[in-house]
Amino acid sequence: MPQRKPRVLVLSGDGIHGESETAHAFEIAGFDADIRTLNELMISRVTQEELTRRWSAFAIPGGATFSDTLGSGKIFALKFEHGLGWDLQKYADRGGLVLGIGNGFQILLRMNVFGTDLSLTTNEAGKFSNQWVRVIPNGARCIWLKGLGTLELPVRHAEGRLMILGLRRPEILSRMERQGMMCLTYEGGLHGSEREIAGICDPSGRIFGLMPHPEDYIRWSSHPEWTSATNRANSPGQGLSLFENAYHEAMRVL
């Protein structure tokens, strides 16, 4: 008997452009993916109930929503909140998984999913940068990173420097630490990001945002050095394991 597959809702439109590869990565991991524009969801008035009922996971891919005007992710986050009004925390509490990649991470952060007084701002050098980095999962809180070691992943962004409001910095850092939120850090730091943070999860570990792009490393042959190990040409890339973790969790809840 064919086993029921979990579904993922992948957001698109208004300048998101990573929807195809994000959906593809979820599909390789075992999901069925639905790509929907925010406008479609708003027009058909998809409720929080429906989200929970139909989709095991919800992803906001990378892109440059509203041309990054007023800070990347800002206007899209407002449109999402005013247009859909979903409470992602509640969605997670009821078994949903949420992923924000790049611009999607910026959008989640601007919706205060990870608390207030955090920001992702312009890289220290003021430059857009496309390079590969090493990132280290920390702690066991984040479901997406469960059991993973150091990962090599591409980053492609101009606004990926995590900052914390100076006045409340100690308090926020200790809370984040206590709750296992600082779940992914850059080896050696990047772009001046606070505590070398590359990704954050919420205290439940089900909502995860990160600047690097795991969906763009699902085959070894997209690694910048793969031609020196062609015997592994058909191997998967390390990024795929995040989506596989989500699949196992979704199957457990389903």
Binding site: L78, N130, R156, T227
Partner: protein, 1100 residues
């Protein structure tokens, strides 16, 4: 409610944007940099919104303020989080220098320049206010706050002009310390004054010119509309009649010419006469025209014909008859004589080449099966039974030179939209291109030094602007920039060191590619089935005055720029792919050069007629006249042909993407181009007159032969070879482009297999990247198929022989694509070319410049000879023939002739059957054997990068005293083996890299850089070492393989009579040792090669 908002980075934090600006100042003029002690870049927004003070307060805080990193100033609207004043004095007080001496430069857009950030901000207000604000006004600007006791008005003026602003699109004003301490900028009345008026320019080029013939801007609409502004008089004495028509029959030849000049038409005298003949002959007896109440030509008709026949639209020079004369008195070095007469360079040498090369996998190519006036364009290739691959190229010059950032962004988005509207619609997977820049600095040493001047601020500005434009266009559309380069024009090889009196300008050569289904239902992607009665539906940005300064307005002395609206572009792109899935439109065309009129005529060709109502075209409130609506090149618009019963569906989908639509006409089979403005007929012409009515030009071309042999200089190879190698590695055409590549998104969509760089130990502190030859991306399906693209451009050889330049460019592009895994040799091997020309002519269209045209003809012949020899069709073509004009200098005192350098950029596109066949250029492991594939006998020093480095001279050498020479028979054999036609060893090659700029030693060094391996390179004893080490060549590669594969590979090459030479083995020494027999010829360690190649701090 009016408001001014200022947002600034908190004083205790680094301000990256300000820091980068200061760095740009430092690179251009360090003396002024040293006057600046502290800086902040402030975002400024002016608002005029129909909302209450309370709503303004809460929305402004919600939208503009990120308290983690910013302070927000609003005067007394919102109590400042920062301090007492609610304005800049707060941050001045908090700056590290107190009491400082502050200045500020505030910039804003000129009236009429589209401000898409302001549009996004208004949208954000509408989201949080949950309603729309039709009459609202929003404008954005920037304020650069500087502290420095030594700063003065002149240094600030320099900063504003050279670094901070582009005065083509922006104005700026200076505030001193005392002015800054007042907060009057926030006063309601001041804000009312400060908000730029929406899009009402005081003079746009076209209107300005119309003014000269007496068409005052207020009268333009009236002259063509119902009421009349009375007779209008211009300097030429040509008047538009009350109904906006002109009696051409009454004009003398001179009056006609000066009328054309006043109107900025790009028409030759013969073309003008053809227009007059049509209107005084065929049109006078035209019953249809009479029925429409038209007799003399209307302004709309004249403008429509003039734009349709302009060089950028019709590509007149590539269609002209060319008579060629060889004045050299020598046998042609090409080995055959050039044709004495060519009936159209495009027809006979571009389209004509492809016609001779039928391939089962070609779906459509430029020029095929279409009437001769269809020029250039994109092509489609069948990758398999289901998938079509669309490829297009574009060259942009004038918009890039007037605003490098906006022009580059716009050009790349234009190309994307063209491909998005090809066939059913292309989903784009890659773009790329070559930036051509003038005047690279001359330098001979490895390290920057005092006698090695940094590039001028003009060049820096152009390059930085292009980078910004391309970065925006790629990172915001998610189409990766996978392959490209920079071509610097230095002094021509063999020329003296006198700088050229002409001011060369930047140009941008772009390509783009993507996929679409070959069939949808019973429709095929290459043949749009259009029917009379199909509606013409415009979608996208409303037409505006900003489009009246575009590419086809070549007559205008100063091209302006129009900024892009990338959000609308992205929405259009999403929309076009959505309607492709639904199959509800028949065909689409992007509104680009020439505007609505030209696009409609092209669509109308397919059914044989068209009818438009200009009053239905959505405008953005600029009150354009009918002629202006027809001509405006406003971007981010497409025109769809839609069956009438599908119109409402198309409109619904457009709404989903928040795109306006307008239903503005229909296709007919009347043979006519008819247009009305509401009830008033404004165009009634034979369609074929617009498309085919222009008379053909006949142009003279000549060639004086190759330049005399260069001077020699005595150089000892043992002493000089390595310093020359280090110098070459740092030359701008060869040096690392990593600083640029990393700032462009080259991996979006996650499809990359071979990237612009190979990287060893990515993400670690020892990571190092070296160059790859081309790009490979995997198709986004579950098959191993890939697409590869490689670029060839050999501008330096133009001064030797444009025929040779083109041959080398084709060969380089093909080798690049084969290096990364392309296929060649079998009938089903998919490998094709694109050609992209920019060519200067000293005379305007129709005038004669035999020398330059002779060069163009030779370049076309070189392209054709190489393409035919290798059997490679040309699937995309573009050309920009530009006549010299007064330089678009930002300093009006400098009057120079501005030209582009003659250039031909070739792309080779190939299928890679399996991603496992893809290769990179880096040597992989110690013990591997290194080979030269091909023969060193063909290496030539004339025209080489070494000659350019030695200021046109060459080391005395017994061999190599010739330019590179092709041997296409050898090429077919070698490429067939590398490309998988025969043999089974080529997949054992662990690296492959072509030998081009700089020669063999540069190629080997580039392979060694990343991994830091070493080798002892044996120069054959019977070879001249200069020619061997530095000669450039056709048909050669450096490759490596595992030692265990070396024997079988050698056997296979020998058996197939493919020449090769074993150069040595890789080792762990970290050194490159040169030997000839037992003689030691020099040694250099890899870190020195790396630092020569990287040239830190040179560009950023």
């Amino acid at each position: 409610m009016l408001a001014r908002i200022e947002v600034v980075v908190r004083p205790e934090l680094v301000d990256p944007a300000a820091r980068r600006l200061i760095r740009r100042i430092e690179l251009s003029k360090s003396a002024i940099r040293s006057q600046i002690r502290w800086a902040r870049l402030v975002d400024v927004v002016w608002l005029d919104l129909p909302i209450s003070r309370e709503a303004m307060m809460s929305h402004v805080q919600e939208l503009f303020w990120d308290p983690v990193s910013q302070w927000l100033f609003t005067g007394n609207l919102i109590p400042s989080a920062a301090g007492k004043s609610g304005g800049l004095p707060d941050i001045m007080e908090a700056s590290p220098i107190r009491p400082g001496k502050f200045w500020a430069i505030e910039k804003r857009f000129r009236p009429g320049v589209m401000d898409s950030v302001a549009r996004d901000i208004l949208q954000a207000f509408e989201i949080v206010g949950r309603q729309s604000y039709p009459g609202a006004r929003v404008a954005t600007g920037k304020l650069l706050l500087l502290e420095g006791a030594e700063l003065n008005e002149s240094s600030l003026g320099w900063i504003a002009k050279e670094v901070f602003c582009n005065d083509r699109i922006e104005t700026w004003s200076l505030f001193d310390d005392s002015e800054l301490r007042k907060n009057s900028r926030f006063d309601q009345e001041r804000v009312r004054r400060d908000i730029p008026r929406p899009s009402v320019p005081t003079s746009a080029p076209v209107l300005g010119r119309m003014g000269q013939v007496g068409l005052k801007s207020t009268a333009v609409g009236q002259a063509l509309g119902i009421s009349s502004g009375g007779p209008l008089r211009g300097q030429s004495g040509v008047n538009l009649a009350r109904n906006g028509t002109v009696e051409l029959g009454h004009l003398t030849d001179d009056a006609l010419s000066s009328f054309s000049k006043e109107r900025n038409w790009d028409l030759t005298q013969a073309e003008l006469f053809a227009v007059r003949d049509y209107f005084t002959g065929r049109a006078r007896d035209d019953a249809e025209r009479a029925r429409n109440g038209l007799q003399a030509p209307t302004e709309v008709e004249l403008e429509l014909v003039a734009r349709s026949w302009s060089e950028p639209v019709r590509h007149t020079v590539f269609q002209a008859e060319v008579d060629y004369r060889d004045d050299s008195g020598e046998p042609d070095p090409a080995g055959h004589a050039m044709p004495h007469r060519v009936e159209g360079l495009f027809r006979s040498m571009i389209a004509g080449t492809t016609e001779q090369l039928p391939k089962s996998w070609l779906i459509s190519v430029p020029g095929a099966g279409l009437p001769s006036s269809h020029q250039g364009g994109d092509g489609m290739i069948a990758l398999d039974d289901d998938t079509a691959f669309a490829f297009g190229v574009e060259v942009e010059h004038s918009l890039v030179s007037s605003d490098a950032a906006g022009g580059s962004e716009g050009a790349l988005l234009d190309l994307q939209r063209r491909l998005l509207t090809e066939g059913f619609g292309t989903k784009l997977h890659m773009v790329g291109g070559v930036m051509a820049l003038p005047h690279a600095p001359a330098h001979a040493g490895a390290a920057p030094s005092a006698k090695d001047p940094l590039p001028t601020s003009e060049v820096r500005r152009a390059l930085d602007g292009m980078r910004v434009g391309l970065e925006r266009a790629t990172s915001r559309t998610g189409v990766p920039f996978v392959n490209g380069g920079i071509q610097w024009s230095d002094l021509p090889a063999g020329a003296s060191s006198e700088p050229s009196p002409e001011k060369a300008e930047p140009a941008l050569f772009l390509f783009g590619a993507g996929l679409m289904p070959k069939r949808i239902g019973d429709r095929r992607c290459e043949s749009p089935e259009l029917f009379a009665g199909d509606r013409l539906i415009g979608v996208g940005r409303p037409t505006g005055r900003d489009g009246l300064a575009g590419a086809s307005f070549v007559g205008a002395a100063v091209p302006q720029t129009h900024l892009s609206d990338v959000l609308t572009h992205k929405r259009l792109s999403d929309f076009l792919l959505a309607i492709r899935e639904l199959g509800i439109h028949r065909s689409a065309v992007s509104l680009g050069v020439g505007g609505l009129g030209v696009a409609v005529a092209r669509l109308g060709r397919l059914t044989g007629g068209v009818s438009l109502d200009l009053s239905q075209v959505a405008q953005k409130g600029d009150a354009l006249s009918a002629a202006e609506v027809m001509l405006s090149e406003t971007r981010e618009r497409v025109l769809l042909a839609v069956p009438p019963e599908r119109v409402s569906q198309v409109e619904q989908v457009a709404k989903l993407f928040e795109l306006p639509t307008w239903n503005c006409g229909e296709l007919t089979h009347s043979g006519r181009f008819e247009a009305q403005n509401a009830d008033q007929p404004v165009v009634s012409l034979d369609l074929d007159f617009i498309l085919e009515g222009a008379p053909k030009l006949t142009l003279q071309a000549s060639w004086a032969g190759r330049p005399p042999a260069p001077e020699f200089v005595d150089l000892s190879f043992e002493r000089e070879a390595l310093p020359q190698l280090l110098g070459l590695l740092g030359r701008p055409n060869i040096a690392s482009k990593e600083w640029l590549i990393r700032q462009l998104d080259h991996e979006a969509q996650g499809l990359s297999v071979v990237k612009p760089l190979h990287t060893v130990s990515p993400g670690s502190s020892t990571s190092f990247s070296g160059p790859n030859d081309g790009a490979v991306i995997k198709l986004p399906v579950l098959t191993p198929d890939c697409i590869a693209v490689g670029t060839g451009t050999q501008g330096r050889y133009h001064s030797v022989d444009p025929w040779l330049m083109a041959q080398l460019a084709v060969d380089e592009a093909v080798r690049n694509v084969l290096c990364v895994g392309g296929e060649y040799g079998r009938p089903e091997s998919v490998l094709a070319l694109s050609s992209n020309f920019a060519w200067p002519l000293s005379a305007p269209k129709g005038g004669q410049d035999p020398q330059s045209l002779g060069g163009l003809l030779r370049a076309c012949q070189g392209l054709q000879d190489a393409a035919l020899a290798l059997g490679l069709p040309i699937v995309a073509h573009q050309d920009a023939v530009l006549h010299q004009r007064q330089a678009v200098s930002r300093d009006p005192r400098i009057k120079q002739d501005a030209v582009v350098d003659p250039a031909l950029v070739i792309q080779a596109i190939s299928r890679v059957q399996d991603f496992r066949f893809a290769r990179t250029a880096d040597f992989k492991a110690a013990g591997d054997s290194v080979y030269l594939l091909g023969t060193a006998e063909r290496f030539g020093l004339i025209g080489s990068e070494l000659q350019a480095q030695l200021n046109g001279r060459l080391p005395r050498s017994e061999k190599g005293m010739h330019a590179p020479r092709p041997d296409w028979q050898l090429a077919r054999l070698l490429y067939g083996w590398v490309g998988g036609d025969f043999g089974d060893r080529q997949t054992r090659l662990k690296s492959l890299h072509d030998i081009s700029e700089g020669g063999l030693l540069v190629s080997i060094s580039e392979g060694l850089l990343a991994r830091g391996l070493g080798m002892i390179l044996q120069i054959p004893v019977d070879m001249d070492p200069w020619g061997f080490g530095f000669g450039e060549s056709f048909h050669t590669f450096v490759g490596s393989c595992a030692d265990s594969d070396a024997g079988p590979i050698e056997d296979e090459l020998r058996a197939n009579r493919i020449p090769f030479l074993r150069l040595g083995s890789l080792d762990l020494s970290g050194r490159l040792d040169l030997r000839q027999g037992d003689r030691k010829m020099g040694t250099v360690d890899i870190p020195r090669l790396r630092s020569a190649w990287v040239r830190e701090g040179y560009w950023e």
